[in-house]
């Protein structure tokens, strides 16, 4: 094995690693490819170049929460989806509302979720989100009963193609017209 000598060879190594990873690779992961002979800044520059190299191709290099990954162009995904006709079952409104509360109000306890939704949280709802690895427990609130505090995971961001929670539309966008107290 010969260490890469030029930019082209380095980019080829990064490209092959990303294409075969099947999951995002972080900068630290990618640095391992060069056994300590690569600067972070250089790596970032190479990733930028790689991204440009792939423009107009079938795959695109994207940055998500846990790192970089190649993914099919969105316009091609609809065709690829035909290979897997059994689509993921839709989550119930209870699940999605719980997820939205955790995403926008994290870290939250079940009590917080119940307060906002006005109904008791079905344990099944939390289980579904935990099994999907979209939420997890990040600590306990120091009140009687020490309830668990839930937050969204990086995997959740990866699955929604986001780099950070800041990329979610701001919560204020969802505010509707004021409910008048005096009519």
């Amino acid at each position: 094995m010969r260490e890469p000598e030029n930019i082209t060879e380095m980019k080829q190594i990064i490209e092959a690693a990303l294409l075969t990873a099947g999951q995002p690779l972080s900068l630290d992961d990618l640095l391992k490819l060069f056994a300590g002979r690569m600067e972070r800044a250089t790596l970032r520059m190479l990733l930028d170049e790689l991204k440009q190299d792939w423009e107009g191709k079938t795959l695109e290099l994207t940055q998500v929460a846990t790192g970089y990954r190649f993914q099919a162009k969105p316009e091609l995904s609809a065709f690829i989806a035909r290979l897997h006709p059994e689509r993921q079952p839709k989550y119930s409104r209870a699940v999605m509302e719980t997820l939205a509360i955790i995403a926008y109000r994290q870290p939250v306890t079940r009590g917080d979720i119940e307060q906002i939704r006005g109904v008791t949280v079905n344990p099944n709802v939390m289980r579904q989100l935990i099994e999907r690895d979209w939420i997890d427990v990040v600590g306990q609130r120091e009140v009687p009963g020490r309830p668990s505090l839930y937050a969204t995971t990086k995997h959740f961001l990866d699955d929604l193609n986001l780099r950070s929670l800041a990329e979610l539309p701001p919560f204020e966008d969802f505010a509707q017209s004021e409910i008048p107290l005096d009519s």
């Binding site: 999951q23 993921q88 999605m96 109904v119 929604l160 409910i179």
Partner: protein
């Protein structure tokens, strides 16, 4: 909620025609309520769809309806009933505080409906945020992650061996072999008898042969040569061949001895 025309009043006016999306046959009640995510959701629906004023919610009727609902739900989903019951209690509390005259010293008390409105609006925003999350493109649906195949070759480094170690290992093998060595009687791999036949056949065909011609130096190696020589000696001993030499160091000839 059991909604009948006699019970519905919006802004003091009795509603004789129910909006289509609000009319529920009593036996469809459970199905109808299941489409709401709880009392906040239901209240929000009533307020937004019918411009229902929180202040003008007919509390007495509402309570009756809630109680009927709770009765019905007792058998099915008690926990859900509790949520609705709590909401009705809250609405009644608000209503009663609105009706009572405020003592002068707490004139600047917050509107009792403010907290409910805050909660309703927060819930409404969450509802929309949830819908938005649901519609966002997701991996495995709208996004396909590249996952090309590669031949995984584990990078296992073989342990290094020096010449000295190898020599030492060989010495140990020899040492152990000596300790365990037995005198073995093995079956001769090369048969003298077989070579006797070969030599004899050769002499039968060729008549007289030079001694050296009977040895094949190309193949077989030393053991074969030795066995071949033994075969010749054996043949001579048994008187089957005649070996002749004219003078010392001259060519030795062999031939089949014939009965005299």
């Amino acid at each position: 909620m059991l909604i009948t025309t006699s019970e519905i009043k919006i802004n003091g006016e009795a509603l004789y025609e129910l909006p289509h999306d609000l009319y529920i046959p009593p036996d469809a009640l459970e199905v109808y309520l299941e489409s709401f995510e709880g009392p906040l959701d239901l209240l929000l629906y009533l307020i937004r769809k019918n411009n229902l004023d929180i202040l003008d919610i007919p509390m007495a009727d509402l309570t009756v309806q809630y109680m009927q609902y709770v009765e019905k739900m007792k058998a099915i989903k008690l926990e859900l009933a509790a949520d609705y019951l709590l909401m009705s209690a809250m609405l009644i509390e608000i209503k009663s505080r609105m009706l009572l005259p405020k003592p002068a010293e707490i004139e600047d008390e917050d509107d009792p409906r403010a907290e409910l409105v805050r909660r309703l609006m927060e819930y409404e925003a969450i509802k929309l945020a949830a819908k938005n999350l649901d519609e966002m493109p997701k991996v495995g649906e709208e996004f396909q992650v590249a996952d090309a195949y590669y031949q995984h070759i584990a990078d296992i480094k073989p342990p290094e061996v020096s010449v000295d170690e190898l020599v030492e290992a060989w010495r140990n093998v020899l040492k152990r072999a000596k300790l365990n060595s037995h005198h073995k009687l093995g079956r001769a791999e090369l048969s003298v008898r077989e070579h006797m036949s070969l030599v004899l056949r050769r002499l039968q065909t060729d008549g007289m042969c030079e001694f050296s011609q009977l040895f094949d130096f190309e193949t077989g190696g030393l053991p074969k040569l030795v066995v071949n020589f033994l075969a010749i000696l054996e043949l001579a001993k048994e008187g089957l061949i005649k070996i002749t030499q004219q003078a010392a160091f001259s060519t030795i000839y062999l031939q089949v001895s014939h009965a005299e």
